[in-house]
Symmetry: C2
Subunit: 190 residues, 2 copies
Amino acid sequence: MVKIENSQRTILNLAEALLQDKGFNGFSYAHIASELGVKNAAIHYHFPSKEDLGIAVVKRYRDRFHLWINNARVKDLSPEAKLDWFFGIYTDMRADKGKVCLVGSLEAEFNSIPAGLQAEIGSLHKELLKWLEATLSEGRGAGVFKFNGEPANKAALILSSVQGALQMARALGTRKFRDVVEQIKLDLMA
Amino acid sequence: MVKIENSQRTILNLAEALLQDKGFNGFSYAHIASELGVKNAAIHYHFPSKEDLGIAVVKRYRDRFHLWINNARVKDLSPEAKLDWFFGIYTDMRADKGKVCLVGSLEAEFNSIPAGLQAEIGSLHKELLKWLEATLSEGRGAGVFKFNGEPANKAALILSSVQGALQMARALGTRKFRDVVEQIKLDLMA
DNA sequence: GTCTATAGGGGGATAGAC
DNA sequence: GTCTATCCCCCTATAGAC
């Protein structure tokens, strides 16, 4: 049961949590409705189809990321602090009932989700990579990160490993997630 | 439509492919039955519940891995060649209709799959990590791999990133997967 | 905006004939 | 081992009252 002020917003919150917890094929309108304390049909009023709902969740997730990275409190950080902030997002997800990143969740089920949602998750993934690449590039330029090869490839490696580590932690525990993050940092200091 | 000799085996093949393609919540007995050219109930004769089927798939997957790593053709390879063989498994998955590793697929849906399957996937994940850790340790001892920190942590990082990269490739293309594998190798040569 | 009611389909699973 | 038939549940989605 959740207090309602703005239904639209509350539905998105619940849908996002369910997506990160159970996956797209693992949650239903009924789950949202019962937690919200309303009936099935009320959810359909706000989001006609499940695809609409999924897309809205991903769009809001991306908008939030944009707000963060363009906010001075993140923008003006040092490269190391930026990276720590980024890892903190995932650490918080792990701490929040073992959630995983939307990107990993939806890409694991990629071939059994609607086409519009597939496209949306691809856009989000690209933007996460873009920001991480720029941050790595900036850090290497400043001499605080050390790695060989293209920043784009290192970014792809790091993002993949953090998302994989969130999934791994579900079966093997939070410690494994922390170990991966520490190893990523260690590798960047070599 | 698939030729039937040993139904049990064919069902496992199809179930494994579907799990890697669509996820546990994304496939049904009907999918298997229609591809096999039989009726729904025939599958239930071999595997009474979907959980039974999932567990059998994971068990076979693990047995296969055991056979491989204990076979002289892998066991006697150099550490670099072992690692290349290992990456080759994932490269083949990617090439095979964009499949992902069972471990990543089931852990992404972890909170919406049966408990017995959760336990089984944890065991598999541990064994993959164990082998990778030993291989990295061997390679560092021989001076061909270079990395800081514990082999167990480096193994967790590498396995997470390969599994994450398979998922990423679904939205962003095979090239991204290859980039990650190359970056992993590059980082091991630093 | 939310309700009741319901359509319409798919899912997992079982019983009993062959 | 596979079939037909069926049960029962859950799902997405819609229509129309309030």
